[in-house]
């Protein structure tokens, strides 16, 4: 197990390095550079050249990349060209809010998705099954900004339905876990989690159905165990392997994909940072945010793989 983890961690290094090279090349291949976006669009060629030199952008690409790597190896992610602040500071003043949102969204997704999917599978062909699958189809198809606007109009509009308007229209409030915090995170977390919940519901349903057809489930039933014990203790645990895999991918997606939700609800997270960085051609910030997301993706995937052995003792790593 320990060796497996070590091997995976070592393999992550070339993966992340490869992503860094690609990000670097793509960011530099795009037309426009950080200086042309930073200065007014009528700046003189001399002013632009002066600033370009000041930021080392006049160096050949390999030199710039090497400098970036050397700094990175020293734990220096660079400074944002636009704000002049360290990349790590830019990211980590916003990262906790994104983590909060992602975790609550994930809880929403698992609570709704796994429950609904299991019920749909057990009651296959029933009205509950059809309604669950229909709703999940709808949620997968509905763009998150539409859901966000609907939720805002229902639950954050004091002039519409004051009885329901429990949430602020946007923004993050209060210390974590306080009542004000829950009110402010409810709508964005639901918006973000709904799609993942729908995907999980459909996946859980088919996975549970598969497992319910297995011999050992028949054996468990033959032993005279109660139906819900069979489902929760025996079936669900095995059915969770594909669900956890997707969950891992979803978590990465949620962390990086909270962009729209964060904008609509003015959630002070990291989602917008990377996109703004692209528009501003803020190269160090683009590299920093992509690097962070890729590290999270690699890390979450490792955790997902390790969790298989917990769910299914037959899975062993060496």
């Amino acid at each position: 197990m320990g060796r497996y983890v070590l091997r995976r961690l070592l393999l992550a290094i070339p993966t992340i390095l490869g992503i860094s090279v690609l990000t670097f090349l793509m960011a530099h291949a795009a037309p426009g550079d950080p200086i042309s976006v930073l200065v007014p669009d009528y700046a003189s060629a001399e002013d632009i050249a002066r600033l370009r030199a000041a930021y080392g952008l006049d160096q050949p690409l390999p030199v710039q990349f090497w400098t970036y790597l050397v700094n990175l190896a020293h734990g220096n992610w660079g400074t944002s060209i636009r704000t002049g602040r360290p990349i790590l500071e830019e990211i980590f003043t916003r990262f906790p809010a994104t983590v909060e949102l992602t975790v609550v969204a994930l809880l929403v997704a698992v609570a709704i998705g796994v429950t609904a999917g299991t019920i749909a599978a057990v009651r296959r062909g029933s009205a509950a099954d059809y309604i669950t699958m229909l709703l999940s189809m709808l949620w997968v198809a509905m763009p998150s900004f539409v859901l966000a606007l609907l939720l805002q109009l229902l639950f954050a509009n004091k002039q519409g339905l004051p009885m329901l308007a429990f949430a602020p229209s946007s923004g993050r409030a209060g210390p974590v876990l306080s009542a004000a915090w829950w009110a402010s995170i409810a709508l964005p977390a639901f918006t973000l989690g709904a799609r993942a919940a729908a995907i999980l519901a459909r996946l859980t349903r088919s996975s549970v159905l598969d497992v319910l057809r297995q011999d050992y489930v028949r054996t468990a039933r033959a032993k005279g165990l109660q139906e819900w014990t069979v489902i929760i203790k025996h079936a669900l645990r095995n059915a969770m392997i594909p669900v956890v895999t997707v969950l891992g991918l979803q978590l990465g997606g949620l962390l990086g994909g909270a962009f729209l939700t964060e904008i609509i609800f003015a959630w002070p997270g990291v989602g917008r940072l990377g996109v703004t960085a692209v528009f501003n051609r803020d190269l160090p910030l683009i590299q920093g945010t992509v690097l962070l997301v890729s590290i999270i993706f690699v890390g979450v995937n490792l955790l997902v793989d390790l969790s298989y052995s917990l769910l299914d003792p037959k899975v062993k790593y060496s």
Binding site: A54, G84, A156, S170, F279
Partner: protein, 538 residues
């Protein structure tokens, strides 16, 4: 600058001007001392919404300044509602006969928020720092023009030397980009100054939480109120809060819920908001122009007649109605009606809508109309590509213009690019035309877009003409306002007649302010005046 500009003053991009800002209704308890029983007091919290975090609150290290900067910092001069410059931190000034030296007499007894005195040293420090290489200033350095040095005469008098006269300096000095900074605090804080700014302004910085909010509190010692304000003391609001609300719909909802106090209403929503009770409305005109720039070095547009023909197809009134929800004013000149130098009389110098005249101009340029009703020359059809931004309203405006030009018998295509790509594409000169905007409050801005020395970068229409060059150079060095106005009348006439630019319109803003806010006013260009504004606080 003691007034508040709701829109950010960004370089020359009108696209970046629409801002956010709104306030929450007096949720902060009033000072215990003034909370006397029953009696109302003028104060409260004024809340704006903002779309994205400011780059830096150090005005010399940011490419854009906005409301936050203008509340924290005062400027040497301010622009009045009549577009003239008035004393602020500078009590008076005098320009030398050769125009190269400006002597400023400074206001005495003013202190920065940290207690440092405002004096000649802070002015010299600010100007020297703007142009210093290590400041890496994206904007302020350029704003000093041909700056040479600042000489301290005594504690409250400085002489600012320029290598040649520089007329735009007063406009530049009226922006936060050149607001005097406290030398000691800047040196002590280093890079952190941009996050913990210290100025002399009407409000002091309290805190800034990334992507969440910026909070300012009243500076009780502030006395820089201008002539046109009734209140001569400190401002009345206790606090000003900037709330981060990036999404347009969420901003509107926040205004309706009273979570913010003021908002520029987006075009499609104006009608609905106008009908609902609870708001007062302020109207203003942007300090810029949206125009169709035609590449004057690319055939067949290198022939002025072809450009003039295209200009003659534009129906600005239809454009404003159909493309812009009426939230714009048709503009026939390269300067905005809210900017000094605008002259409505110049309208007749350009090419008003006249399709017959357009056809005649094309015929004179050697084009003939083929059987399909399209113009061609030597068997080659006349086609035209409009390059513009991907963000609205540009694509919508481009479509209206496309249809208008098509009526003449010219096939028009549209290509949209996001901002950085578009700005990088135009210096190559391969485009036919570009639908773009600028926003600035001094006509000298035209130098950057139409002078031949700017071919490599911001002269996006590749226009080269020595007559216009001379006029633009003259406008830059003429400090006498009457003489300067004449120069810019000639320059604008030249631009309109030769049509490297076809000016289209200037944006109009409808700013909604919640009725709890009393006494708020604005300037013609939308700058909010908070001097007399307050809420009733119990």
């Amino acid at each position: 600058m003691q007034h508040l500009r709701i829109r950010t003053v960004a370089g020359a991009m009108l696209a970046a001007l629409l801002v956010v800002v709104t306030g929450c209704a007096g949720k902060n308890p009033p000072d215990a001392a003034s909370a006397t029983s029953g009696a109302n007091r003028k104060g409260g919290t004024f809340t704006f919404a903002y779309g994205s975090d400011p780059t830096s609150l150090d005005p010399e290290k940011t490419p854009d300044v906005g409301a936050v900067h203008s509340l924290i910092y005062d400027t040497l001069v301010v622009k009045g509602p009549d577009r003239k410059y008035y004393p602020a931190l500078a009590e008076k000034w005098q320009v030398s006969p050769d125009g190269k030296v400006i002597t400023f007499n400074l206001k005495q007894g003013v202190k920065f928020h940290n207690g440092e005195p405002f004096n000649a040293e802070s002015v010299k420090f600010t100007f020297d720092r703007a142009v210093a290489k290590e400041t890496k200033s994206p904007q302020s350095g350029g704003f000093m023009g041909p700056y040479e040095k600042t000489e301290i005469v005594n504690d409250y008098e400085v002489k600012v030397y320029f290598k040649e006269p520089y007329a735009p300096i007063f406009q530049n000095l009226s922006t936060s980009f050149l607001a005097p900074l406290p030398p000691k605090a800047v040196k002590e804080k280093g890079d952190a100054f941009g996050r913990e700014p210290v100025g002399t302004g009407a409000f002091k910085f309290v805190k800034w939480q990334n992507s969440d909010s910026i909070v300012l509190e009243k500076n009780p010692d502030w006395t820089q109120s201008p002539d046109w304000a009734t209140n001569k003391g400190a401002m009345l609001f206790d606090r000003v809060v900037f709330k981060h609300v990036p999404d347009e719909n969420s901003q509107l909802l926040a205004l309706q819920n009273g979570e913010i106090d003021v908002l520029d209403i987006p075009g499609p929503q104006v009608e609905a908001i106008r009908k609902s009770p609870g708001y007062q409305f302020l109207e203003s005109t942007a300090a810029g122009v949206v125009y169709l720039g035609i590449n004057s070095q690319k055939a067949p547009f290198s022939d002025p007649k072809v450009r003039q023909a295209i200009a003659s197809t534009i129906d600005r009134d239809e454009l404003v109605t159909n493309g812009l929800f009426g939230l714009a004013v048709a503009n026939y000149t390269p300067i905005s009606p809210s900017v000094w130098g605008y002259d409505e009389g110049l309208k007749s110098k350009g090419w008003p809508l006249d399709l017959a005249k357009a056809g005649q101009l094309l015929t004179e340029a050697g084009f003939t109309k083929n059987a399909a009703g399209k113009w061609e020359k030597g068997g080659k059809p006349l086609t035209f590509e409009i390059m513009t931004y991907t963000s609205q309203p540009y694509p919508r405006v481009a479509e209206v213009v496309q249809n208008q030009i098509a009526k003449l018998g010219i096939t028009v295509t549209i290509k949209t690019l996001e901002s950085a790509s578009l700005l990088a594409a135009t210096p190559k000169g391969e485009h036919d035309s570009v639908l773009i905007a600028y926003g600035w409050s001094d006509p000298d801005i035209l130098f950057n877009f139409l002078h031949s020395s700017r071919l490599a970068n911001s002269n996006r229409v590749h226009y080269v003409n020595s007559d216009l060059d001379k006029l633009l150079e003259q406008g830059r060095v003429t400090l006498n306002l009457d003489d300067r106005l004449k120069v810019y009348q000639q320059a604008q006439t030249h631009i309109l007649q030769n049509a490297p630019w076809v000016p289209l319109y200037t944006n109009k803003y409808i700013t909604a302010v919640r009725n709890e806010v009393k006494g708020i006013k604005n300037a013609p260009d939308g700058t909010l005046y908070l001097y007399d504004a307050y809420k009733d606080v119990k």
